[in-house]
Structure formats: C-alpha cells, structure tokens
Amino acid sequence: MNAPVLNLARSPVVALVGNPNAGKTSLFNALTGSRQKVGNYPGVTVERKAGRLALPDGRVCDLIDLPGTYSLSPRSPDEAVTRDAIFGRIAGEKPLDAIVAVIDATNLRNHLRFVLELKPLGLPLVVALNMVDLAARDGIGIDAARLSALIGLPVVETVAVRKRGLEALGQALAAGIGDAAPALPVVAAGDLKALQKQARQIANAVETATGSARRWSQRIDGVVLHPLAGPLLLGLILFFMFQAVFSWAEAPMGWIEAGIAALQAAMAGALPPGILLSLINDGVLAGVGAVVVFLPQILILFAFIIALEQSGYMARAAFLMDRLMAGVGLNGRAFIPLLSSFACAIPGIMATRTIDSPRDRLTTILIAPLMTCSARLPVYAVVIGAFIPARAVGPFGLQGLVLFILYLAGILGALLAAFVLRRTVTKGSAPPFLLEMPKYQWPAARDMALGLYSRATAFLGRAGTIILGSTILLWALASWPQPPADADRPPIEYSLAGRIGDGLEPLFAPIGFNKEIAIALVPGMAAREVAVSALGTVYALNDVSEENADSLIQRLRSAWPLPTALAFLAWFVFAPQCISTLAITRRETASWRWPIFMFAYLFAAAYAAAGLTYHLAVAAGL
C-alpha cells in the first residue's frame, strides 16, 4: 500500500462469523444494505462479500460476511476461508479488528459452542443473538444480560430481517474496537466436548422459558418429508419452476433479441459494410446478445433457488434426493448445483462450492454440463420443428415428447457418468451426508433482491467476458480468410472455420454428420445455441433469427435425412462445446486437467450417442 496517508482514521475490519443458518447473511444485508461488494478471495473461488458499516462514533468499518461454519476445523473451501480470515492468513486481506458472532436464539446450545471456540482467540468479540422474535414465537425466553455475564462478552439481541438491534450492535462494536490493531490470534486447541458441555450449561442457565421449539417446522415437515407426499411435492415444485423459467422469460428474451437486432440494424445503417461492421455486429453485439439473452431465465431460476434456500426447503430437497444420488456415489447436496445447471452450467458449477468433499465436488462439476441447459433449447427447437411431425401421441404432442426424452436422456446420462466417474476418475470413499435442516422461514424481500443482484452480476461478469471474448475469436475464425471475388459458395466455407470443418468432416461422417454440420460445430464452440445461427450461415441464410427460423427449418428438411437430424439431437444431449463452461471449470478446479478431461469425455459420449442414434435410425429404415 503506498497511498498517501493523510490524517484519516484507520477503518477497522469487522467479520460476521457464525454457524450456517444463524441468519448471518440477513444481518449482513441489514447492516450494509446495497452498499456491498461481491468479489473473490485470491486463489480460491470462494465468494468474498464486503460492505461498509458506519459506527455510532463516526468511524466507518469494513464489514465482511464470512462463510458459515460449525467450527474452526474446516471441511470445505468455504469454511477454510473463514478460518484463514479469522487468523489473518489470507494474503492481501487486512487482519480482523473484531468479530461479530451471529447465533440463532432458537438454537442456543449449538451456536454458543462456536462462540466459546472463538472467545480464546483474543479478538474483540460481540455476540449478535439473532432471531429473538422466532425464539419468542416458539416460547423460548433468553436472559441476554445473564448470557453476557456468563460468557463475558457483550450480547446484543437482533432481528436481522426486521432491522432490530442494529444500533445497539454498532454501539457494542464501537466500544469493543480499540485504536490499535489487535494482535493476530493464535490457534487455540479447544476441547470440543468440553466446550459443548459448557455451552449447554450456559444455555440452561439463561433460558427463562423453554417452549416447544420448531413446532411449525415439524408440522410442515410432516408433509414435505412424507414418504409419498414429499417426492410428489418436490416434483410439483420443480415442474412449476421450469414452467416459470421458460414461459415467464419468453417475453423479456424477445425484447432483448429485438433490442440487439435493432442495434445491429442501426450499426448497419451507420457504418459502411466491411470488417468493422462485421466485428461489431457479428462479433461484439452477437456475443453480448448471446449472454444477455439468457439473463431473464437465469434471474427467474435464481429467484426460485434463492427462495427455496432461504425458506429452508432446499435442505429438505437434498434429504429427499439423497437416496437417488447415493446410488451413483454422490450425496443429496449435489442436487442444488445440478438443479441450477438446467438454466446454465456456469452458475451450477459455481454452486458446487458448498460441497465439502473435493471428489464429490469434482464429480458434480463434471456432470453439470449434462443437465439440459437453456442454450440447447434453440437447437432442439429448430431441429424438432424441422423433423418431428406435430402429431398427437395419446394425450401428448410428439414434439413435446421428444423434448422431454432429450431432457431425460441428459439426466440419465449424468447419473451414468457420475456412476462411472465415482468408480474410476474420482474414486474414493463417499463422504458422510450430514445436513442440518433449518427451520422454515419466509424469504425476506431484501435478502432475495440482494442475493439475486449479486448472482446476476457474478454471472454477467464471469460468463460475459468469456463468451464475448470467445465469440470475437470465433467470429475471426469464421471471417478469415475472406472469400475470393468469384466465390460461388457461402463465405464461411472459405474461412478458417470452414477449413477446420472440412478437416473435421471425415471424423463426423461415420455418425451421419455432413460437412455443413461439421462447420457449424466450430463457431458453436462459443455457446451451444450459436450452432443455430452458424447453420444459417453455412446454408447461406443471411440472418437466422426468430422471424426466419422457418426458412432454416425448410432448408434443413431438404438437406438432412431424418437419421442425421436425430443424431444431431443426440449429439446435443452431451455436446461438449461451450467454452464458458470449460473456462469456469478451469477456474473452479484450478487446473487445465479437468476442463480437458470434461471436453474429452463429453465429446466421446456425444459421438457415441450420435453414432448409435444414426445407425439405429438407418437400420430402422427412417
């Protein structure tokens, strides 16, 4: 740091620490509002959430929301960050000046134990006794003054979602933080069992009334975890969620596409035809559009996922799904990232950070691209529209049925892949499945909005830069060299992409793919749905968008035999081509090995599935 030091007071660093489900993030949101920054810790991919908090004495501190953990012995990358931050071991991070230990008033015994583990570290420590309203609802009374006296720490009652107790918390912090930085804490070897006993004794002493805690949660669980009603309800929730993701997003996606098209038209009017116009329209705008167009779906999906997480339902879903996941060597926790992957594998892969076992996490990352992401939909829509007749099969439409089969094939493929991976590449004993089922709560609007905002910006930032970069690269591949003056074929065939496609043709011929498909798969590396516009380009249609998708459908009908079309669909169930997924895998696994492995195994699976489909279809005389 070489910033000029004026007569400014040092801004102290304060961290929120606590068990999962203590309401830590709600408290962080209540304290910092929208003034928070979400980033990454250097070297690891754990999210770093920081904000500014003004203390009553005028000082402004940096407030950091550390990942929830049950103890100072970490089990996952998330929890390791919490420990390292507390001990001031993270490079580039200022050491802590104080800790706010957030504890759940309805679960005093367990959460107090962690406070007792933090206390010997010697950092100024303020206890936020959170969710006192829920405790009161359950009939639990806590004598906060007595608690404070017994543990020898300031205790402030808070209700984060209602912004109660925040001022008192600020005052306690201001009183606790000195002018000089405290000494770095040393590792204290606490005896877990002794602390546990002490915590229980203190809890027994300060609880003035012990109500029938969690009565409501237990009643709801009676339905949600019922052996019959539970899975049925989960199925209904998922069905409704996917309906919403696709139907609610339709209109805004149309606006975004129209907006991008209008911008492209404006550019075409303002600039002479040439390389610059092509770069802006086919490179930059097409690249930005390819990312932004999925934002409505991703926001809707995230809204559901955040609501399910905050309400406490996600842990129940993991419980219900654990048996199925155990069958392929994973556990129920993998369910949430895989669910996110139906919108896009990128947020799904980012969500694997909560999985504590590295092998489980890696397996989940590797199978995430098999969940049918929304980028495959445009491809499916065009090919199904062209080749699958719109007739009824019983009460269902044949086209819808084929789409359902493609989704199902992805899920079964993922389960099969996990089964094989857990026995070969990611072999090792399965970690125990141990998950706290938090009490049910209404999701708070502020927490939903802030969660949505931070995830959306993370998606746009990470995926956007990668997709934009790769689209421009592939645009260059598809644009150079330029066709000769007397060209009689579409320009793309003369380009590098076209030549790569030519070279790939012999590889794809055995699975029924023609040269045009091979060429379209090259720019399709940027994002799967780009394959549609690339097909339009090779079949010499100038612009394939919603309006003239029909003409592409007509062209494909005359150009492809049915087995080729079916093989193309089967290819896209496994399709490895998505540079952003590979890039995010490289980030999250911190190695080139796994994205390369991912590409290779998906390619092999896609090739096998397409080949099998093609030859079966030919043999069946289709």
Binding site: N110, D221, A318
Partner: protein, 84 residues
C-alpha cells in the same frame, strides 16, 4: 459406565421414541465423523428422536437432536448409541 449387553443405536429407535445419547463411536472407528456429529450437537445425554425416514428405503433419516433437526445416513447413525 453402565455395561449394557447389546448397545442400541439410533437406527433401532421406534417411531416417536425419544432416547438419550449414551455414546458416540465408542469403538473409535470413525473419529472424524464423530467430531462432525459433535459439532452438530450430538453428545452424551442429549435427547434424540427419529422424525422422518427418506422415501425409497428409509435412508437417510431426519433426527431431532436437542433443538435441531439433522439429516444423516443410517451408516453414520449407527455410530450413535442410545441408552436402553
């Protein structure tokens, strides 16, 4: 230490039966799992009760321990002995 004949684990609890935890992993076969259970509030003398069994085979189970509900698989539940 009372010397009971056959130690009973959580898995043997009947529906609605509340029992006190007698020991966790007394044989020391899974020390890491024992620590994790302890962190989640499983400790000697704490009352436990099976609330739910997952569909399709009854594994995992949801156990009330103190004021918390924790989901765990039966193999891990087998480490937790309860008083008869």
């Amino acid at each position: 230490m009372p010397s009971t004949a056959v130690p009973r684990t959580i898995n043997a609890l009947a529906a609605g039966e509340v029992a006190l935890i007698a020991a966790i992993d007394p044989a020391g076969q899974a020390p890491d799992a024992a620590i994790r259970l302890c962190e989640l509030g499983f400790d000697e003398g704490v009352p436990v009760e099976i609330l739910h069994r997952a569909p399709f085979g009854g594994d995992p189970i949801a156990v009330r321990v103190g004021n918390m509900v924790v989901a765990l698989r039966r193999d891990m539940a087998g480490l937790i002995e309860v008083a008869a």
